[in-house]
């Protein structure tokens, strides 16, 4: 009879368990992540779990690669083809599995004992069925913690996707600038080589001192050394972009970048309420909120289970001799020493920490938003100053130098030097333009709800100190 009660209980709990169980889903969370990043301006994400090994459909993009890579195209390819990013999505599965795990009751325990009388006779038999009764009460609480963590994981994956977009953009701008600077370094080398050549001709004619020839040669050789440096930087930035776009083999050699976009002065690049919008959109803040929820649920869970972390009920049957002796069992820890105070204190401290970190993060976001806006405006002014003032003036200097040369007031070496200075100004313009676009990428990222993960402004580093929070290693 009593045995029947125990079994009935088991069956009931199994039924309840069936209702509460979260099903395993390999895609879990991905549509929400895709939606999140799509809402924030990133292109559509694709992920086909299970076919990671098959080569991605690069044929479609390879024709576009040859035409000249734009920044948008690079981002699209990176999101499609970067395997580390694809691996990142698997993290959703891990978090989801944790959630599924949290929703499962501990299995009942069944035990069998037997005794063989030495003197002989009937074998003693005993069996017991026990399950953690209180687990049934704690499961919804555990599920709430795990749900908050799953939400947090989705936000973090979305943040990592935005980071990947940002990384691809900044790598693109850097490479674009490097390529143009390289071309200009080639021109500087050509100008100084021509100067050196001319100086040698003058020397051959008997008109120039060895000192002047050596001076020209020194300039020419240094320009060549600078050219090597520019070549290294360009190859480096190209490979970084290849890495981010997941390109290798022939695909890695296929593409060229389009020249830097010109600044449009009408482009009101900065957002007046950047601070407010960066806060509102912030994935980091949302993740921090989920952490607070999880921490708060942890506190509740630890409080609830402080005295009685487990209550085991069950039934047993023993055959002593020939007689079966069924009866219920009940195990309850006696809270004499550990009344759960340490666990509660820990959970409370973690909650306080999560709250403080959230506040700190908000302060950080506001500060970075302000400095990003200032940087963007400043670099924009600087790039415009180069484009609209410095370069035209340098051009005028060159034209006037040519006229003075035509008037035989200055020599051909002076003319070539003016050309060289004009190119150097061009290099500084490219540099200004690159800084502007990098600031622009930071600005875009902030608006999308993510702190730029630059060295100068590390993205919420203190959050990383929190345990149980895996961060992307895609760097």
């Amino acid at each position: 009879m009593k045995c029947q009660i125990v079994f009935g209980l088991v069956i009931l709990m199994t039924g309840l368990q069936g209702c509460a169980t979260v099903a395993v889903d390999p895609h879990a969370g991905f549509p929400q992540v895709a939606q999140l990043v799509n809402d924030r301006g990133a292109p559509e994400l694709t992920w086909t779990p299970g076919v990671e090994e098959s080569p991605p459909r690069l044929d479609a993009i390879s024709s576009r690669l040859a035409e000249g890579l734009t920044e948008e195209e690079a981002v699209r390819i990176a999101l499609l083809n970067n395997r580390e990013l694809q691996a990142l999505y698997a993290r959703l599965g891990i978090a989801h599995a944790d959630l599924v795990q949290a929703s499962l009751l501990h299995n009942p325990v069944i035990g069998v004992t037997s005794g063989f009388p030495i003197a002989g006779g009937i074998v003693d038999l005993g069996f017991g069925l026990a399950m953690d009764l209180i687990d049934f009460l704690y499961t919804p609480l555990r599920k709430r913690v795990a749900t908050a963590r799953f939400e947090e994981a989705k936000l973090r994956v979305a943040a990592d996707v935005l980071d990947a977009v940002w990384r691809t953009q900044t790598a693109f701008y850097t490479h674009q600038a490097n390529e143009q600077a390289l071309e200009m370094r080639r021109q500087v080398a050509a100008a100084t080589a021509a100067s050196f050549n001319l100086a040698q001709r003058l020397r051959e004619a008997g008109n120039l001192r060895e000192l002047d020839v050596a001076t020209e040669q020194a300039l020419a050789e240094e320009a060549k050394a600078d050219l090597r440096f520019a070549e290294i930087a360009t190859r480096d930035s190209r490979e970084r972009l290849n890495l981010l776009m997941g390109l290798s083999g022939e695909h890695a050699l296929l593409w060229t970048v389009t020249p830097a976009r010109l600044l449009d002065p009408r482009e009101a690049a900065t957002n007046a309420d950047l601070e407010a919008r960066a806060m509102k959109q912030s994935l980091d803040l949302a993740a921090a909120d989920q952490l607070i929820v999880a921490a708060a649920e942890n506190v509740r869970l630890d409080r609830a289970s402080a005295l009685f972390p487990e209550v085991v009920v069950g039934g047993k049957g023993e055959r002593d001799g020939r007689e079966w002796e069924p009866g219920p069992t009940f195990i309850l820890p006696l809270p004499l020493f550990d009344r759960g105070q340490a666990r509660i204190a820990r959970a409370q401290a973690e909650l306080r920490q999560a709250r403080e970190l959230r506040t700190a993060l908000a302060v950080r976001i506001a500060a970075i938003a302000r400095s990003t806006r200032a940087r963007l405006e400043g670099y924009r002014e600087r790039a415009l100053q180069y484009r609209d003032v410095v370069l035209p003036v340098r051009q005028r200097v060159l034209e006037q130098t040519q006229l003075q040369y035509n008037a035989m007031q200055i020599g051909p070496l002076d003319l070539l030097r003016a050309k060289e200075q004009q190119i150097e100004a061009g290099i500084r313009y490219i540099d200004a333009l690159r800084e502007y676009w990098l600031a622009q990428a930071d600005h875009t990222l902030l608006l999308a709800g993510r702190l730029p993960p630059t060295e100068a402004a590390p993205a919420a580093p203190t959050l990383e100190q929190l345990p149980r929070l895996p961060f992307s290693t895609l760097q």
Partner: protein, 466 residues
Amino acid sequence: MKLQHKSRTLNRRRFLAGAAALGSTGVLLRQVEATEGNLSHQHHQATARPVLSTAPQSLLDRIDPKPTQPPGEPGKDYTPVITPNNVSLAWKVVNGIKVYHLIAEEVEHQFAPGLHARCWGFNGRVHGPTIEAVEGDRVRVYVTNKLPGATSVHWHGLLLPNGMDGVAGLTQAVIKPGATFRYEFTLRQHGTFMYHSHHDEMTQMALGAMGLFVIHPRKPKAERPDRDFAFMLAEWRLDVGTSRPNPNEMTDFNIFTFNAKAFPATAPMAVRLGERVRIRLANVAAMSHHPIHLHGYQFRVTETDGGQIPLSAQQRETSVLVAIGQSRTIEFVADEPGDWAMHCHMTHHVMNQMGDKFPNMIGVKAAEVDAQVRRLLPDYMTMGHDGMAEHGIHLDTGHMKVPENSIPMRGGPGPFDYITMGGLLTVLKVREELDDDRAPGWYQHPKGTVASTATVAELQRDGIKV
């Protein structure tokens, strides 16, 4: 010489015709004779300055003698001077005194076509117009200062009372902007003199504030010239592309001028064959003496700013060095027709806006470098590797653009080829027939009198192997 003889007859005929035009020849001659005695006495008194004189004389009269003759009249008392590219200053007679008015002011001046500058001059001209007078004249010169700064005018080489000498600070106060000063003195000498600013000279003279002061003899001992030309020599620094002379320049001058004009803008001297020609040269350059060389003639140096050179001391020359602050007068009879160059013999003084920063490119073989440089600078070409002569032609034909307002290394077109000179170059044009209203064109050489390519037959005839 046949030509010489012809020139004399021409001379006499022209003189008589001129005199008739002026009025009664008899009256003119009488007047000249009547004043002759006084004039020569005055002349002696004035030029020989020794204080020890037997004639009783008040101190004031010695310092500033009263004129004893009526003001000298052009045509009658002197053949007016020609200042090529400039004019003589107008004057009027008030109570027997010649009254002039100089206005010092900023003037937009053209040195040659394609090169103008804001200079300082007088009466709208650079240099100022020539003051012309006659020995014994009493002159009164008002000087109005319309310059931005104070000024003064010094009468260079004139014998006059110390207080009229025009050295600001030393003999007078400065003439402040807007003020007008009066200078007045009697001319006791004749010759070629100058006037120029004597306040902040380095600035004001570098900008052109000066002019010629020609005093004709009342009764010339020598024959009067038929043509009397006067030139002021000067030098300037005008960087290519600028439009104001730079007074701070100490050594590198790049514009050299006859009467503030650089060739090809110098007006030629047109002379009829056989005429007696006088050329007055006065130098107020900042740093350069100019050896002026006349082609085709031997001339005599007849005057310095110290007065007439005795005939016995007048050497025959083909060049005369006119040092800074000096004047020299040369004379000759124009007995050989043609276009004769007169120029400074310092070769850099017959260049316009030469740049001394340009490297020596002579002999440079740069053909392949040209292609290399043109990839960076499409308009580039190596210049000067076979000399500078081509440059002016390139500019004149518009092949090559140079900064606005500049005439670098530019000369001018000639009848045979491009003339590769500029600066201190002008042309003496001697012609049998001359239309006085118009400068004659290029000289038409009689057949066989122009150097040209030797023919093969000529070379063979004379055994010349080339």
